[in-house]
């Protein structure tokens, strides 16, 4: 079985400071990893994904994530937070190969950027 843990329910950061939203995963074999963002009363928007290769993945709106196989982590980062980044962030994992369509999501981390 595959699983995702987002250890922080909420992260608060001051505008202009760097932000990190943590994610660890468990999956058999090699993972595909995703980050999505959800604004109030809206669906999930895709931010970035890790497939293979370079461990640092760059995505939309200045976000990036670092894949760390030994620590089974895929933390989301941004060098300088904006108030408009305040939202709910979800990490998701799937395994490669058969059944890869089943994404398993974490419970989400609420990010609040304080002006």
């Amino acid at each position: 079985a595959q699983s995702v843990a987002q250890p922080e329910d909420q992260v608060n950061v001051a505008e202009g400071n760097p932000l990190t939203v943590k994610c660890t995963y468990s999956v058999s074999g090699n993972p595909y990893l995703f980050w999505y963002v959800q604004y109030p009363n809206r669906g999930l928007q895709f931010l970035l994904k890790y497939i293979t290769g370079d461990n640092l993945v760059k995505g939309s709106y200045g976000f990036e994530a670092e894949f760390n196989k030994s620590q089974t982590s895929f933390h989301l980062k941004k060098p300088s937070a904006l108030v408009s980044d305040s939202a709910l962030y979800f990490c998701a994992v799937s395994r490669t190969g058969a059944g890869s369509y089943q994404l398993t999501f974490g419970k989400g981390t609420k990010l609040s950027v304080i002006p």
Binding site: V4, F34, R42, F90, Y101
Partner: protein
């Protein structure tokens, strides 16, 4: 509109009634997914359609839940004899091809409230 659309956006029903939720995927996307998001939780996979293949219904929580898809177009999720625990946001997603690493693009969801 190029995105995934869902209707209705909100549905309030009485316990025991049947409801139908609709999803229009992105044109040309062969794969379609349904998820359920309970308050404060991550997304739960419900069902997966890929082209004309038999759907994966392994995530449906009970036989009161069913879903259909006509070819590579519209899908409907039906919940019979609704219960209060069915209250949630139901999200639909589509992807160009089935399975990761193909990115799943989500609709805005249908918020279902069972009184």
């Amino acid at each position: 509109g190029a995105g995934v659309s869902q209707s209705p956006s909100n549905k309030v029903t009485e316990k025991g009634k049947d409801v139908e939720l609709r999803c229009d995927p992105i044109s040309g996307h062969t794969a379609l997914y349904w998820y359920r998001q309970r308050l404060g939780q991550g997304l739960e996979f419900l069902i997966y359609f890929q082209g004309n293949s038999a759907p994966d219904k392994s995530g449906l929580p009970s036989d009161r839940f069913s879903a259909e898809r006509t070819g590579e177009s519209v899908s409907t999720l039906t919940i019979q004899r609704t219960q209060q625990e069915d209250s949630a946001v139901y999200l639909c997603a589509s992807s160009l091809l089935g399975g990761a690493p193909n990115t799943q693009y989500f609709g805005p969801g249908t918020r279902l409230t069972v009184l």
